[in-house]
C-alpha cells in the first residue's frame, strides 16, 4: 500500500492540478511542490526496511492466456532507484517554475508529475507486463514536454528522434517480452527456470539488450540523445538524463541478467565492446563540444558506458558498484543540467565561447557548479569517484583489457569537466549582453542543494549504499537462477585471491562460502576489503 502511495502520489497531485484554475499560479506551484516533496519524504521510509527482505505487493491481474499480476516490490535494488527518482523529480518540479510560460504552467507541471509516476512505476515493477507498460508510457510525457513546452524548432525535431528511437526500442523489447512469455505463460519471470534453447534465449536477451542500449543510451544507439538533452528545457533533461536513462540499467539488473544468465554471458563480449566504445567516444566528443548541455550529454554517454562495462564484467564488486554509479550519475547529471539551465537563463546562450567569468559576480553559483563538475570528473570525496573507482577495481578482475581502456576516460573526464568549469566560471567577466544579476536565487540554491548534499554524502560514505545492494544481487551468486554467472564469479574471486595477495584469505573465504550455498551475507567480505 505504501508502495502504491509513493507511485501514484505524483499522479494524484497532477490530477489535482487540473482542478486549480490555470491563472492561480501560486496554488499550482504550491500543490505540485508539496506533492513532489511528500513523495520524496514517503519514499525515504523505504530505508527503514530490512535490506535483506523485499517489500512485495501482488494482486492477480490477468489469467487465461498467461498470468500477470500487479506486482510491485521495493528491495535493496529498487530502493535506490526510487529515492533517486523522487529526489530528482522534486528538484526538477521546483526548477520548472521558472521555465514555463504562465498560461502553460499547469500542463507543464502535470506532465512532469505524470512522468515521475511512470518512472516510479517502472522502478518498482516486479512483473514484466507492468514494467513494459511504464516503459512505454514514459514516452508520452517526455514527447509532449519536448514538443509543447520548449518552443524551439530544434526541440521539436529532438522530440521526434526521441519518440521514434525510444519507440523502436520499446517495440523490440515488446517482441522480446512476448516471445519470452509465450514460453513461460507468465509475466512473473523472476526466479523461474527457463527451458528455452540457447539460441532462442540469446535472441530474446538481444531484444531486451537492444531496448536497454537505446534507452541508456550506449554508442552507437545514442543519436537521439544529444539533441534531446541539448534542446529540452533543463528540468526535463535533468529528469531524462538523471533518472530515465537508468531505466535500461534497471531492466538489466532486475530482469534481463537474472533471467537470462547464459545469454548474457554469450552477448557480453559484444556489449563490452559497445560499452568501452561508448566510454571513449563520449569522453572524446565531450572534449570538443562548445555547447554546455551537449558537453554534459556526451559525458553522460561516457559515464553510463562505464555502468554497462561494470555489469558485463560480471564481477560482484563492479556489479554492486554499478548501482552506486547509477545513483551518483543521476544526482550529478541532474545537478549539472539544472545549473547549466540557470546559467542559460541568465546569460542567454549555451555556447562556451560566448561568455566567461561568472564566478566573479556569482560566487555561490560557482561553488555549486564546482561541486557538480568535480563530482562528474571523479574527485575523491564525491560520489562520482566512489562509483567509478569500485567499478574499475571490480571489472579489472575479469576484464583487464577493457578496464584499462576505460581508464583513459578518467583522464579525459578531467579535461572536459575543467573546460566546462573554467569556460563558464573563470577569467574576466564577459557576457553577450549585460545581465543585472548572475547569482543563484534562494529558490534555485535550495533546490540544487539536496542533490549536492547527496553527492557529498555518497562520496564520503559510499558504503551506506553499497552495503545494502548485495542483497538485491542474489542472482549473481544464486546457483538456481544463475549457474553460469556464479561460476564466473567464483573464477573472478579466484583471480582476486591470486593477484591481490593482501586480500587473499578474505577472497578465498568468500569463494568457499559461495560454493557451499547462496546467502545474502556472502558478498560482504569482498566489500570489506574495498572500504
Amino acid at each position: 500500500m505504501l508502495i502504491d502511495t509513493v507511485i501514484f502520489l505524483p499522479l494524484v497531485t497532477a490530477l489535482a492540478l487540473l482542478l486549480i484554475p490555470r491563472s492561480s499560479t501560486a496554488a499550482l506551484k504550491g500543490t505540485a511542490l508539496v506533492g513532489a516533496v511528500a513523495t520524496f519524504a514517503l519514499s525515504l521510509t523505504f530505508l527503514t526496511l530490512d535490506p535483506n527482505v523485499a517489500a512485495d505487493q501482488s494482486v492477480p491481474w490477468i489469467s487465461g492466456t498467461w498470468l500477470a499480476s500487479y506486482h510491485v516490490r521495493v528491495d535493496s535494488l529498487r530502493l535506490f532507484f526510487v529515492i533517486l527518482t523522487t529526489l530528482v523529480s522534486a528538484a526538477c518540479i521546483w526548477a520548472a517554475f521558472s521555465y514555463a510560460q504562465i498560461e502553460r504552467l499547469r500542463g507543464y507541471l502535470f506532465l512532469i508529475l505524470a512522468f515521475e509516476t511512470t518512472l516510479l512505476g517502472l522502478f518498482t515493477a516486479a512483473d514484466l507486463l507492468l514494467f513494459y507498460i511504464y516503459w512505454d508510457l514514459m514516452l508520452i510525457p517526455v514527447f509532449l514536454l519536448l514538443t509543447g513546452y520548449s518552443g524551439t524548432q530544434a526541440a521539436r525535431r529532438a522530440a521526434w528522434s526521441y519518440l521514434i528511437y525510444n519507440g523502436a526500442g520499446g517495440l523490440v523489447l515488446l517482441l522480446g517480452i512476448v516471445a519470452l512469455v509465450t514460453q513461460t505463460h507468465s509475466f512473473e519471470v523472476s526466479g523461474i527456470q527457463l527451458t528455452l534453447t540457447p539460441q532462442v534465449e540469446g535472441w530474446i536477451f538481444a531484444a531486451f539488450a537492444l531496448a536497454f542500449l537505446i534507452k541508456t543510451p550506449v554508442f552507437p544507439f545514442h543519436s537521439w540523445m544529444p539533441p534531446t538533452y541539448t534542446y529540452a528545457p533543463s528540468p526535463v533533461v535533468a529528469l531524462v538524463s538523471g533518472v530515465q536513462s537508468k531505466a535500461g540499467l534497471f531492466g538489466l539488473l532486475a530482469f534481463a541478467l537474472p533471467v537470462f544468465p547464459r545469454a548474457a554471458q554469450v552477448w557480453a563480449p559484444a556489449l563490452l565492446v559497445l560499452a568501452v566504445a561508448s566510454i571513449l567516444y563520449g569522453a572524446m566528443t565531450a572534449i570538443g563540444e562548445r555547447d554546455t548541455k551537449t558537453l554534459v550529454a556526451f559525458s553522460s554517454l561516457s559515464h553510463l558506458g562505464l555502468v554497462w562495462l561494470a555489469l558485463f564484467a560480471f564481477d560482484i564488486t563492479s556489479v554492486s558498484a554499478s548501482i552506486l554509479m547509477v545513483v551518483s550519475h543521476g544526482l550529478i547529471a541532474a545537478a549539472l543540467f539544472l545549473l547549466l539551465g540557470f546559467i542559460e537563463q541568465r546569460v542567454g546562450t549555451r555556447d562556451l565561447g560566448q561568455f566567461n567569468g561568472l564566478s566573479l559576480r556569482a560566487p555561490r553559483l560557482a561553488v555549486f557548479m564546482l561541486i557538480a563538475a568535480m563530482a562528474a570528473l571523479g574527485l575523491p570525496g564525491l560520489s562520482g569517484f566512489a562509483g567509478e573507482f569500485l567499478i574499475l577495481i571490480g571489472s579489472w578482475q575479469t576484464q583487464p583489457l577493457y578496464t584499462s581502456l576505460a581508464l583513459i576516460s578518467v583522464v579525459l573526464a578531467c579535461v572536459y569537466m575543467l573546460v566546462l568549469f573554467q569556460g563558464t566560471m573563470h577569467g574576466p567577466e564577459r557576457l553577450p549582453k549585460p545581465v543585472a544579476s548572475l547569482e543563484l536565487r534562494p529558490r534555485e540554491m535550495w533546490l540544487v542543494a539536496p542533490l549536492l548534499a547527496a553527492i557529498i554524502f555518497l562520496g564520503v560514505w559510499p558504503g551506506w549504499l553499497n552495503d545494502r545492494t548485495p542483497a538485491a544481487l542474489a542472482w549473481l551468486r544464486d546457483g538456481s537462477s544463475a549457474n553460469v554467472v556464479a561460476q564466473i564469479y567464483l573464477r573472478a574471486s579466484g583471480i582476486t585471491s591470486a593477484r591481490v595477495n593482501s586480500h587473499r584469505h578474505v577472497s578465498l573465504r568468500a569463494a568457499r562460502k559461495i560454493s557451499i550455498g547462496p546467502s545474502i551475507e556472502q558478498a560482504r567480505p569482498l566489500h570489506g576489503e574495498l572500504r
Binding site: 487465461g64 492466456t65 498467461w66 512505454d136 508510457l137 523502436a168 512476448v178
Partner: protein
C-alpha cells in the same frame, strides 16, 4: 417451427427479426409523420439495438443450427453480433448531429443503418456460401446508399459511385469463387467445404483464391484497398465510422469461420492471406503519413488495423479467435470514439476532418482533445489502452504461427513504429501549438458525448483490465491456455 419442410429456430433468428421490426417501425413512423424528429427516429434505432441485444443474451454460450444448417448461432457468432450491435448503437449516437442539408431523410438513413447491420449479423452466423453472399450483399447495398447520403456534396456522390463500382466487382469475385467452391465440394455448406479442403482440387484452389480476393476487398487488405481513402473521405462522418467498424467485423467473422472451420490455421492456402496482412500493415501505416485529412488518415489506419487483425488467425483456433475478438472490440471502441470526437467537434459536419483544425485544440476544447489523444494512443498501441493489450495478444499469436507468424510479428512491429509518427503528429498538433482561436460554437447535444465517453471507457477498461473481456466471454478464457 417448420416451414417449407425446413425447421426454423426463432430464438436464433430473434436478433435479426427484432432489428427488422425496428427498421420497419422507423420507416413507418417516418412515413406517417413527416415531421418526426431525428431524436425520435434514432431513439427507436437505439432501442431496437437494445432489444436485439436482449434477444441475443439467451443465446450466450449455445450452439444452435437452424434453417437446415444454413445459419448457426454459436460462440463464434455471438460476440461478432454483440460488436455489431454496439457499433450500430454508437453510430446512432454520433449521427445525431447530422446536418439538415445532408441528403436523405433521417428515417431512411436510420432504417438503412439497421438493415446494414442485419446484413452483418447474417454474415456472422452464415454457415453456407449462399447465406454468406446474402449477408455481404445486404450489408454492401445498404452501405452504397449510405455512403451517398451526403449527396449535396460531390465528394459523397463520388464516394458512393466508387464504392458501388469496386464493391460490385468484389462481389463478382466472391460469387464466382463461391460457384467454383460449390463445384469442387458438391455442396454450399461449410462443413462439406471442410472435407473438400482436406484434399484440395485445382477447382477448389481457384475458387478459394477468388473468394479470398472478394473478402480482401471488403476487409480492405492491400492491394485491394484503393477504394478506402476516397470512400472514407467522401462519406458522411457517421457513415465512415460505421463503415470502418461494421464491415470489418462482419467480414472477419466470415474469414475466421473459413480459416478455423474449413482450412485450419496452418493451411498452405492461407499463405496469400499472410502476405496480404504484411502488406496491409506496412502500406496502411506508410500511406497514412502524408494525409492531411483525418478521415483519410483513419482510412489508412483501418487498412493497417485489418492487417494486424489477420495476424490473430495465424494462431491456434481457440486463442486465435479470442485474440481476434478482443482486438475487434478494442478497435470498435477506439475507432468509433475517434469518429465521435470528430463529430462532436465539427458539430456533425466535416469541419474537423482536416488535420489543420486540430492545431492547439487542447486550449480550445481540452476534453475532446484528451479523448482524441487517448484514441490515437490506443490505435498506436500505447500501454494502458485496449489497443496495447490487443497488440500483445497478436504478437503472441504470431509467435505461435511459425515462420510466417514471425514475419508478421516483424511487420506488425515495423508498422506500429511508423504509426507512432502518424498518430504522434496529430497529438503533437493538438498539444504543441499555443495558437487558439475563439471557442467554436458548440452544439449542446448530449448524444455524441455519450459516444465519446463510451469509446473512452471501453478503451481504458479493456486496456487496464483486459480480464473484463474474458470475464464476459468465459468460453474464451477457458480453453485459451
Amino acid at each position: 417451427m417448420t416451414a417449407f419442410g425446413i425447421s426454423i429456430s426463432w430464438t436464433v433468428l430473434a436478433p435479426i427479426v427484432t432489428l427488422s421490426i425496428g427498421g420497419l417501425l422507423i420507416m413507418i413512423v417516418d412515413l406517417l409523420s413527416r415531421r418526426a424528429s431525428r431524436a425520435l427516429l434514432y431513439g427507436i434505432g437505439v432501442l431496437s439495438c437494445a432489444a436485439a441485444f436482449a434477444t441475443l443474451l439467451p443465446l450466450f454460450g449455445q450452439s444452435i443450427t437452424t434453417l437446415g444448417g444454413a445459419f448457426v448461432s454459436d460462440k463464434f457468432s455471438w460476440t461478432f453480433d454483440g460488436i455489431l450491435l454496439l457499433t450500430l448503437a454508437m453510430t446512432f449516437l454520433l449521427s445525431s448531429l447530422r446536418r439538415a442539408e445532408d441528403g436523405g431523410s433521417p428515417g431512411s438513413y436510420a432504417a438503412l443503418l439497421i438493415f446494414c447491420t442485419i446484413g452483418g449479423i447474417v454474415m456472422a452466423g452464415a454457415n453456407n456460401l449462399i447465406i454468406i453472399f446474402l449477408g455481404i450483399e445486404q450489408l454492401s447495398l445498404a452501405l452504397y446508399v449510405l455512403a451517398g447520403t451526403g449527396f449535396p456534396r460531390e465528394a459523397s456522390q463520388e464516394a458512393a459511385l466508387k464504392y458501388v463500382l469496386l464493391g460490385s466487382l468484389a462481389s463478382g469475385f466472391l460469387i464466382f469463387g463461391s460457384a467454383l467452391l460449390y463445384g469442387s465440394a458438391g455442396s454450399v455448406g461449410l462443413p462439406a467445404l471442410a472435407s473438400a479442403a482436406s484434399n484440395p482440387t485445382g477447382l477448389f484452389v481457384a475458387g478459394f483464391a477468388l473468394f479470398l480476393v472478394g473478402l480482401a476487398f471488403k476487409l480492405a487488405l492491400v492491394p485491394f484497398h484503393t477504394w478506402v481513402p476516397d470512400v472514407y473521405e467522401g462519406s458522411p462522418l457517421a457513415v465512415t465510422g460505421f463503415m470502418s467498424v461494421a464491415v470489418k467485423v462482419a467480414a472477419f467473422s466470415i474469414l475466421a469461420r473459413i480459416v478455423y472451420q474449413v482450412l485450419g490455421h496452418d493451411s498452405v492456402a492461407l499463405i496469400p492471406l499472410w502476405v496480404l496482412a504484411i502488406l496491409s500493415m506496412l502500406v496502411g501505416n506508410l500511406g497514412a503519413i502524408p494525409q492531411k485529412n483525418l478521415k483519410r488518415l483513419l482510412g489508412f489506419s483501418s487498412i493497417a488495423q485489418a492487417g494486424y487483425i489477420v495476424v490473430a488467425l495465424a494462431g491456434v483456433g481457440h486463442s486465435g479467435l479470442s485474440t481476434m475478438l478482443f482486438y475487434l472490440v478494442a478497435y470498435a471502441f477506439t475507432t468509433l470514439g475517434a469518429f465521435a470526437v470528430m463529430a462532436l467537434l465539427g458539430d456533425g459536419d466535416d469541419s474537423y476532418a482536416q488535420l489543420d483544425a486540430y492545431r492547439g485544440l487542447h486550449l480550445r476544447r481540452p476534453w475532446p482533445a484528451a479523448a482524441m489523444a487517448l484514441f490515437f494512443f490506443s490505435l498506436a498501441g500505447i500501454p494502458a489502452t485496449a489497443g496495447f493489450y490487443g497488440k500483445i495478444l497478436l504478437l503472441q499469436q504470431a509467435f505461435s504461427g511459425g515462420a510466417w507468424g514471425l514475419a508478421m510479428a516483424v511487420a506488425l512491429v515495423a508498422g506500429t513504429l511508423v504509426s507512432f509518427y502518424v498518430y504522434g503528429k496529430v497529438v503533437w498538433d493538438m498539444y504543441s501549438s499555443a495558437e487558439g482561436e475563439a471557442a467554436q460554437p458548440t452544439g449542446n447535444s448530449l448524444a455524441p458525448w455519450i459516444a465519446v465517453a463510451a469509446g473512452a471507457v471501453g478503451t481504458l477498461v479493456f486496456g487496464i483490465l483486459p480480464q473484463a473481456f474474458y470475464a464476459s466471454q468465459p468460453f474464451l478464457s477457458a480453453g485459451a491456455k
